[in-house]
Amino acid sequence: MSSLWWIFASLVYALCVMTLGWQCRQAQKPFVHGFIWIVFLFVFQSIALLLKGLEIEACPVRGEANVLFYFSWGLTLFYIILGRPYRASALGLFTLPGVCLLTIASLGLTFTSTETPYVDNLLLTIHVAIAMLGYAALILSGVLGLIFLAENKKLKKHLLPSKENGLPPIRILHKSMKRLMLVSFILIIISEIFGVVAHLDVPTIKLWIVGILNGAFAVIWFWQIVWGLSGKKWAISSVILALFSLSIFLVNK
């Protein structure tokens, strides 16, 4: 079976699980084994990516369509690794709709756009794949930072946040932001190592962006370890770094 078949299968499966989850929520029943259902989705998506890689004999993260599918795989991965509070929150709740949208967009692009030529360079493609995941983690951390700031403002102004909004509590947001930023830092460093080993011809501006990001990561972690950082400062740092990291995608090679 081709990778395209598995992408379709993962989309249909995600739609079914989403419908099931929605029905349980409407009926105010627990979504039993929801986590296991999503682990299966992750397996479907991973098989699709693996087959894609085997079909083209290169890393499958190349071209807009594949990148979008890769992001949907990343969303599922974060759902699995970020712990129960994340899964129980609105962010966890939007994982399946997010996966479905990204997969539909990916399929749409597969059928409408011309195929991007694949680069026969394993190190380069591994560098790109890991970096993408790292930036995705950082962007998610920025989203959590924004939610933290909004919730924090409400609590400070004595407006009782609604329990029904499904957003995680302040302490969980704080922990998740830190965890995501650490994951992002590690992934970006690993991707850079692959980039260096591959002797990539990287534009200076990209090097500057990555350098500033790494410098900022190092300062934040040093500050946290030595003096500690409040949740609000973590949130502001996450949002600024997430926004800044987007600039890397604006630089064309």
Partner: protein
Amino acid sequence: MICLGLNYRTAPVEIRSMFAVPQHLLGEKGKVLTSLEGVSQCLVLSTCNRMEIYYWAEDYLAETTSSDVMNCFLPPDHSVDQVKGHFYRHVGKDALKHLCRVVSGLDSMVLGETEIFGQVKTAYQAAHEAGVTKAKANKTLQKVFSIGKKVRSDSEIHSGATSVGSVAVELAEQIFGELCGSKVLILGAGEMSQLTARALKARGAESVFVANRSYDKAVELVNQIGGEAIRFDEWEQSLIDIDIVIASTSAPHYLITPETLLPLRSKRKYRSLFLIDISVPRNIAPEVNDIEEVYLYDIDTLSQLADEARRTRELEVARCENIIEQGIEKYFEDETLYNG
């Protein structure tokens, strides 16, 4: 179906306790009721705020049956005439509507409370196990529970916390998530702080430390709610590990100011700190709320939030009544169709 009962509106606590039925005797009482002539099925509901008997009688209009039913619950040295005035009686559709209102929390002392739903279910289970409910009662009660669920899901009648203690718990959960592992410090062993601490402990707060000017009183409170008593001159040091502080001393000055907390921030690793000030005059300086990780709520704010929730619930009553009305109409329509 007939409902005969008394509640917190119609009877003082002395009368209510006279008629209270322990949970393990609900089924037995049901059996006694069904042994009366003309009573085929029944359900006995007994909570701290109400005692109601729902029964299915052959002659709905017979006053004598009501007196007999009351007699079953009456202590030996009392007569029906003494307590009759505290009872209300609903028949047929009105009784069904009343039960739906009860199950939905519309008739509760705290509007929209959810505990009553479980209490009615327990009463039904006891009646069912005792064999005093049959097809008619079972069908009616299933319908009542489904209407109760619909009220809960389609309205905001249960939303928000309506007491100072529950608002504090809800806020603590918005800050810390699950409260297991959270440490609570109580300054002053007043009744309000006790209630709030109990509510937090019931939701999983791990340790409670009590500091009071009179150490003996702190020990006394600790014996009641569990935890650890600390000397009043030592509470500031314990702040490093604390997540929630409840202040309710009679001190005429601020006990916690920015100067108290600022030196502790780095030692606390900037962890969130939730301060609840339920004392008058205030024990915590309002300026501490300017510290990033500190969330200060005083009694006025907590009461205001509880009032807002109560108002929201009151505004929902009409919608709930409508849901109940529609549910009952549908039930009677189905009944008519079924009976041909």
